[in-house]
């Protein structure tokens, strides 16, 4: 597992990783983030290779709220042009509160398979919050060379940070 790039926002906006080397087996993103949405909570998304085609992304989500658990699928109806990858708070909350998560992107450089993405994430706001585990599909077989990462309802807020890692497979085990 090797760190490829770290971005910390100095103004509200999105994060982009480009020219991703095709030499690893998997990718991982670790983030600490919030958005400038006017509600109390938001979600983060990723988009690959600037593919804005609605319907190319599907998300299966198991999300807990502190009292209930819901299992949903997103991206079928309505269709989405991004995949929903995690929970985060917003600037409505305390300035020191950020959500966090880990996103694994499997076999990102393959040109023969669609891309499966798994994530776990959460935000606890001392009395409210969400956490979730997610499996996502990008229906395209193209190798991933670029990742856009931002908030679903609004841009990410200043101080949000994400690091992209490359993971090698083991020659011995294939793991």
């Amino acid at each position: 597992m090797f760190p490829l790039a770290t971005v910390t926002l100095t103004s509200n906006g999105g994060i982009s990783f480009s020219n991703i080397p095709q030499t690893f087996t998997h990718l991982q993103i670790r983030y600490s983030a919030k958005t400038v949405h006017v509600g109390s909570f938001d979600e983060v998304y990723i988009r690959f290779n600037s593919d804005f085609t609605a319907g190319n992304y599907v998300s299966h989500i198991l999300q807990a709220s502190g009292s209930t658990i819901a299992s949903t699928v997103q991206g079928i109806s309505p269709t989405l042009n991004y995949m929903l990858n995690g929970d985060c708070p917003t600037t409505v909350q305390n300035a020191a509160l950020f959500g966090a998560g880990v996103i694994d992107i499997f076999n990102y450089s393959s040109s023969t398979r669609t891309k499966t993405v798994r994530s776990y994430s959460g935000v606890d706001a001392n009395g409210s919050g969400f956490e979730s585990i997610r499996t996502n599909l990008w229906t395209q077989t193209a190798a991933i060379t670029e990742i856009q990462f931002s908030g679903v309802q609004q841009f990410m807020a200043t101080g949000s940070t994400a690091t992209l890692y490359g993971l090698y497979a083991s020659n011995a085990t294939g793991a």
Binding site: P3, A5, V7, S65, G66, I69, A96, G122, D124
Partner: protein
């Protein structure tokens, strides 16, 4: 952000750096003087409690803060037949980050706990962490994910992790390994 060639100094170093590992029988398990040079921490626990009155739970706190009600958590739990979500707010520390097998469970049965502490050395944000725990006792068991919050902007330099009921008894762990790793960012 364009990715630099892998010959760059930062990317040539592995991201997961072992900081310390303790193998404990009955003694306490904590890490002190945690270096403030990584982005995240990861703690991996595999063990069983030494208490004898039933299943135990995993407890954790940072920087010896167990009195100021700075802690909260959101849980997602499955036990093989049902699921639930629970919450704890304004706690002195977090006492249930997942069930811990103990002396009443099948021999040599342990639980596993992977704890990710994000931006642990940051001084501009409260500390969010995610715990993924599991134990299977051959017919019963639990999987749990917890998102926790420590409402302090202090950098984390000490981390305590215990079986909660064992903490109140005479024996903490019956056996356990507890490993601490630093997770390097690209600029570290």
């Amino acid at each position: 952000m364009p990715i630099l060639p892998l010959s760059g100094a930062a990317s040539s170093k592995g991201a997961l750096v072992p900081i310390s590992r303790v193998k404990v029988l009955t003694s306490s398990s904590y890490f002190t003087n945690i270096p403030q040079i990584y982005r995240d921490l990861r703690v991996i626990v595999n063990g069983a409690s030494g208490q004898t009155n039933g299943m135990d739970t995993l407890a954790m706190w940072f920087n010896e803060d167990y009195v100021n009600t700075n802690w909260s958590q959101t849980n997602m739990i499955g036990n093989g037949s049902s699921n639930s979500s629970t919450r704890v707010s304004n706690a002195a520390f977090l006492s249930n980050l997942g069930p811990v097998p103990s002396a009443i469970t099948p021999p040599n049965t342990t639980g596993t706990y992977i704890i990710d502490v994000f931006n642990y050395s940051s001084t501009d944000r409260w500390k969010t962490f995610i715990v993924r725990s599991a134990n299977d006792l051959n017919g019963w068991g639990t999987v749990q994910m917890t998102t926790g919050l420590w409402r302090s902007t202090a950098g984390i330099n000490r981390l305590n992790v215990y079986p909660f009921n064992g903490l109140n008894g005479t024996q903490l762990w019956s056996s356990a390994t507890v490993s601490l790793y630093g997770v390097r960012a690209a600029n570290q």
